[in-house]
Symmetry: C2
Subunit: 116 residues, 2 copies
Amino acid sequence: MNLGTLKIRISHQADTAMGPGKADLLDAIHELGSISAAAKHMGMSYRRAWELVDAMNNCFSKPLVSTRQSGGTQNGAQVTELGLQILKSYRSLLNKTQSACQQELEEITRHLSPTD
Amino acid sequence: MNLGTLKIRISHQADTAMGPGKADLLDAIHELGSISAAAKHMGMSYRRAWELVDAMNNCFSKPLVSTRQSGGTQNGAQVTELGLQILKSYRSLLNKTQSACQQELEEITRHLSPTD
């Protein structure tokens, strides 16, 4: 069987507040401690990663990522407590959907055309 | 409370096989019986509607929309039996997700920034 991929986004006005790419970026920032390292890890430009972080931060009442200018040469970034909380809720939403909607997902994906 | 919008897509390779825009377009074609009328109803170009239909049809093993060239001046389109079935499964997936994930959706949306 050919499995389609379930993608869930939470939109806020014209923006995506949380979605698969933003969640993965948050994970990478949390793990690596900087936006540039996270961008490199995900194969995206630093500019693009910044845009995604900026969009997320603007969608929420408080930032999901905070940046700190240290005295040294390295700037760091960290996922805030709210960021971790949103990430946890988002992943839980994905898991619950996959469990609750197994039948529908199978009904749709079994009709997808064969992959190359 | 500021409600974010839940958007669910089923991806197939690099394409979206089913998502909010495609589902609404299928509804409109089913109701209006032509791609051009559906496009007009949704405020999109005929070309854009055709591209979405073409993408959907290519994602599935059989078309979700069939077109017929009648002898008259009007060309028609109809949502196939498979199209209606996929649409039904997709809507059911959305409803079930909203019920199963009420807590997570509230946890995320209550932190969204105030709307303008």
